[in-house]
Amino acid sequence: MSAPLAKLPKWVDYGLIPLLNLTAALLVSGLVVLLIGENPLEAVYWLVQGSLGYGEGIGFTLYYTTNFIFTGLAVAVAAHAGLFNIGGEGQAYFAGLGVALACLALDHYIPWWMTFPFALLGGALFGAAWATIPAYLQAKRGSHIVITTIMFNFIASAVMAYLLVNILKQPGSMQPESRTFVEGGRLPFVHEVLEWIGIKIEHSPLNLSFVVALVACVMVWALIWRTRLGYAIRTMGTNPNAAVYAGMNVSKLTIVTMMISGALAGMLALNEVMGTQHRLLLDFTAGYGFVGIAVALMGRSHPVGIIMASILFGMLYQGGAELAFEMPKITRDMIISIQGLVILFAGAMEHMFRPALIKIFVRKPIAAGAV
């Protein structure tokens, strides 16, 4: 790592620095708002109000959060192994096929909770499969995984367009999409579930995959910090020499990790296809796969951090939509820019504030070289 090795207090490392990076990103975004002649504070107000101010808004925020948890976890698991999976978008897109096939095959015959395990499995398998090829090429042929996963995003998009247009499309339909699933292929919305037990809340696309996302967080946490496999993944990601020394099979680990990563990204399809849209449609991934990069960076690849970062991005997405209603000049593209800035400040320039903080928090630098 290129970071200066001086040690900072934990709360600075895991709390203050991400906060400062986020603040820097938001400040720059504020400047942009000023540039288009709007009031940044008002924008912040509508952002918060729109995402947390009322029931439907909260529902939407959590619905977006669900997507980001999945893609964030996908990037994080790979990152623990020292791999940069930039292909979450394509993996999730391809996983949509797995989810949709399960739903299309079963929705007429069995209730949703029986379809659900098949859809889950379908999404996971298809997502994993799409990640396996770049992983294999990295492990066995040394192809740079960043480049191959980028290429696979584009290839996934072509494959899915072909399938939707030529095979899955309803005859005579305008849209290249599959037919809409009936009840047996739809995850219940949270407002429906709560209605069954007598609680009425506002409608939103928030559905049971949110619970799946939270379970996935626990599972990823357990995987990384409580299993032998996770231990091997972290060892490989931190010190590959030590992994070889410890007799770990680095090629196999690379492939397995990427498969898990791809399966997690594939869960995005569960939320979108089975949970929200109830059909397979073009570009349903809508860039969520890329947001996962920002989420994992902000959340420092820890499930708890990822949940928090996902909520933050969920707020940005939902609040951003609201903002577009209230301040039409600030379109949702603002959110894309903020995302970019967060990735820039929290990722590429994450150490920008370190030297200054070291001066403040560390009086005499402790040496790294414990010889």
């Binding site: 367009a161 305008m174 849209q277 449609l281 073009l282 939509a321 577009a324 039409p328």
Partner: protein, 310 residues
């Protein structure tokens, strides 16, 4: 009565110089005519469709006009939740008691511009560039061909679609390439039904010194003298009427089919293209209009059987 109308545009946005802009023009005209304020919203992604409709409905907007066939799925979900709100959808049929579905006989308008194209072309060759390859756009193409063949049985019509996904609506570079390819093959007039992609088509035609034909809005003025005409789809009228009908307590749900007879489609005739339309052409197109309205000419609708006999 007082109304509180709202419009949800499709992904192209209200200034697309085409379909959505026409809707915007209708809403704007109503606002100017009556002093009624209205709200509108430009989508950025698919999930927002429902969100926007629901939000407008909750805030008491009525009627809510949604533009484009892509809104149908969302509308099917939202409309039943607000049975007392009136919705209207353009370009698609949604069969619900509180929804008015407005669809156009694009094939009729396309027939007319096809006829004009064939008469304007000196080379016996004309072209068509569609956006996304869907039955709606095929209907444009088929009507156009029928019109062109009616004017000149020997004519060859090149037909290309820009793509198979939503991106096809917004790819002026590819539109331009397709138009160039048709022009290179000898086409003298190129008609587009391709949304934002059409900008590239009209540009390519103008650059090559050939003629383009616009669509949805009157696009004659984009390259004055280089756009033969436009197949105008009166989305503005549909939006205007939706507002007005409710205000006048004359609202009706159900399907509104707007063709030539209803002034729902037309060929654009203004000062920009005046020099391009000869008297002979004018006479022919006016005769054809009459014949279609009278039922003497039946323009085939591709959507009826998913085939085009021409």
């Amino acid at each position: 009565a007082e109304i509180k109308p709202a419009v949800v545009y499709d992904l192209g946005g209200k200034n697309d110089q085409s379909f959505n802009q026409s809707a915007y023009a209708g809403a704007d005209k109503y606002a100017k005519d009556t002093g009624t304020a209205y709200k509108d919203f430009e989508l950025q992604n698919d999930t927002q469709r429902e969100q926007a409709m629901r939000r407008f409905a909750k805030k008491g907007h009525d009627p809510i006009v949604v533009i484009g066939f892509s809104q149908a799925e969302a509308l099917k979900k939202v409309a039943p939740e607000f049975p007392n709100t009136k919705f209207a959808i353009i370009d698609m049929v949604v069969d619900l008691p509180n929804v008015r579905s407005v669809v156009f006989k694009e094939h009729e308008g396309s027939y007319l511009v096809g006829l004009l194209a064939a008469k304007a072309a000196q080379s016996d060759k004309v072209g068509f560039v569609g956006g996304m390859d869907i039955p709606l756009i095929r209907a444009f193409a088929c009507g156009y061909k029928q019109g062109a063949k009616a004017a000149n049985p020997k004519i060859e019509v090149f037909e290309n679609m820009t793509g198979t996904t939503g991106a096809a609506w917004n790819d002026p570079v590819k539109g331009g390439e397709l138009a160039k390819s048709q022009i290179d093959r000898g086409a003298d007039v190129v008609y587009h039904a391709a949304g934002g992609t059409g900008a590239g088509v009209l540009q390519a035609a103008a650059d090559a010194g050939k003629l383009g034909i616009g669509v949805d809005s009157n696009q004659n003025g984009i390259h004055p003298g280089k756009v033969l005409t436009s197949m105008v789809k009166r989305v503005d009228v549909a939006v205007y009427n939706a507002f007005k009908d409710l205000a006048d307590d004359k609202w009706s749900a159900g399907i509104n089919v707007l063709g030539l007879a209803e002034d729902g489609v037309a060929w654009a005739d203004d000062s920009n293209n005046k020099p391009l339309i000869s008297d002979d052409m004018r006479a022919a197109v006016e005769q054809a209009t009459k014949d279609i309205i009278a039922g003497k000419i039946v323009v085939h609708d591709y959507r009826a059987d998913n085939t085009c006999p021409y």
